[in-house]
């Protein structure tokens, strides 16, 4: 049995046969290598299919068996040739299109990432770029198995990978290890030092040795909690130090210096109403927009503009970003004028700013104990300055600073 496509390409005909010796006719066709199919008996006649080229072998057989034959249907490429001759350019175009299609399907035109949660698409794209895999690469140049291995090596939390093609799309499928092991932070040994100068209100130590207590006055940079914990022997002599990362909640009462200034004159934008809303196109570094044409017809009063650009990049198949941009430019022309604040306005602005500053501190958990600020008026401005006494958290983590005493003790201990 032969394929329907072969029959279509070679061209086939349906023949209606009539006569008394049809069986003999069939047997003679067989001996003459004439392939018949779809033989159906309808009363006295028979309908069968055969190749168009075989039809020319029939006359002697028909004559010998006294069979009448009539072609009732023709199909296949040979019967389209006269039709195609008149439209040769169209069919040439179709064939060219098919050839082009066949050619372009040998390349990768899209890349899809499946199953990645921890590893981002950008990381995978960077990895593929490092492996010289990009849009437009020939499929045959990619060794999927080798790249899978490299991908697993590059990302330790990727447990399984599969790189395969779906048409002209390269699919990178990964499975990640969901149970990631918690990172073991190595103890490097840290102290906590004071960030401010003031009086310690409270200290709660979780790790390390506290060096100050509530009520002590400290200076900036003083060690509050030490990360090296001394180990004593039975004679209460320090034999060794255990190193920890110091951790504590320390509250300090310290002054905060506040300073704010408002100048008398302030700039105000006045839009002239000379607005331009034009399109633009950018490709391969070449930029074209309608502003030049707009400026020819509209005289600008100032050189000050507020410009809003909406830029879109041309994307093919959701993934292929072409270096072609398009969008709109909205340009508003304005002029600057300087106005002057009144004294009340400046006071209001300063007090508003101060209240905002205080509320921000309170949001951070800082308790305000005392406020001592004053407003000073100058010729061109107004200043607000003073001190705020507040209870706030303090402490900066720094690498351990072992004292000379501790070092000496540690050196002496082995002796």
């Amino acid at each position: 049995m032969q394929n329907n496509w072969v029959r279509f390409v070679k061209g086939c005909i349906s023949v209606k046969l009539g006569g008394d010796y049809l069986e003999r006719f069939f047997n003679m066709c067989r001996t003459h290598d004439i392939y018949l199919w779809g033989i159906r008996r309808e009363n006295d006649i028979c309908v069968c299919n055969m190749y168009a080229s075989d039809f020319f072998k029939l006359p002697p057989l028909l004559k010998k068996t006294g069979t009448r034959a009539k072609v009732i249907r023709k199909s296949g490429v040979p019967f389209y040739i006269p039709f195609m001759k008149k439209r040769i350019i169209f069919f040439a175009g179709v064939i060219l299109c098919l050839i082009m299609l066949n050619l372009v399907t040998n390349y990768v035109w899209a890349i899809e990432y499946i199953g990645n949660l921890q590893v981002s698409d950008n990381e995978l794209t960077d990895f593929l770029n490092s492996q010289n895999i990009h849009y437009g690469i020939k499929k045959s140049e990619i060794n999927c198995e080798e790249k899978e291995k490299r991908l697993r090596e590059a990302f330790p939390n990727v447990t399984w990978t599969s790189i395969y093609f779906e048409g002209s799309k390269l699919c990178v499928e990964v499975k990640e290890n969901e149970k990631t092991e918690p990172k073991k932070t190595q103890t490097r040994g840290t102290d906590i030092i004071s960030e401010d100068e003031g009086v310690i209100i409270s200290i709660v130590t979780r790790n390390g040795v506290p060096k100050v207590k509530a009520g002590d006055t400290v200076v900036k940079g003083q060690v509050l909690v030490e990360g090296s914990v001394p180990v004593y022997n039975e004679e209460q002599v320090i034999t060794d130090y255990q190193i920890y990362d110091a951790d504590a909640d320390i509250w300090i009462k310290a002054p905060i210096i506040y300073k704010d200034e408002v100048s008398k004159s302030y700039p105000v934008l006045f839009y002239t109403g000379n607005d331009a809303d034009v399109g633009f196109f950018e490709a391969f570094g070449f930029h074209v927009d309608g502003l030049l044409i707009y400026d020819l017809f509209h005289k600008s009063k100032t050189d000050l503009y507020e410009t809003l650009t909406q830029k879109h990049q041309l994307v093919l198949l959701d993934n292929i970003y072409l270096p072609i941009y398009y969008g709109r430019i909205n340009r508003k022309e304005y002029s600057l004028k300087y106005l002057a604040h009144t004294t009340d306005e400046m006071k209001q602005i300063l007090s508003d700013n101060f209240e905002k500053f205080i509320s921000e501190l309170e949001e951070k958990g800082v308790q305000i104990v005392e406020k001592n600020v004053k407003i000073v008026k100058n010729r061109n401005s107004m200043k607000m300055q003073g001190d705020i006494t507040a209870i706030k958290p303090t402490g900066r983590v720094v690498d351990i600073q072992r004292t000379d005493e501790a070092q000496q003790t540690q050196e002496a201990a082995p002796q």
């Binding site: 047997n27 290598d33 779809g38 008996r41």
Partner: protein, 116 residues
Amino acid sequence: MKYRNLYFIFYGADMTRRDIFKKDIADAGERFADTFSLPKDMVVNATLLHMIGKSDIFIENFKGIVSYTCHEIIIKGHKIKYCICGDNLAIEYYSNEDMKISGQINEVKVVREAMR
């Protein structure tokens, strides 16, 4: 004489010695195929019928069509005929090597030709 009596026991009293010899010659091929485990259709030129369900039948190593109607197709084999009876019988393809018959097949009969 003793052997002839044995033949009568196996093949019946109505068979002559010549008939028995002819039958022996005819069956030699089959015995040869059986002995050497060879395919019988190749050795004795037998027709091969391959039936799928009750609607399709493939036939190989045949000589030709004797008769074809909607209800009966008679195929000529080597010294034997096969009669395929049914309804809406059609020949799907007919080539030098094989043929396929499809339709509602009710019966496949073997018609032996008289021995000369």
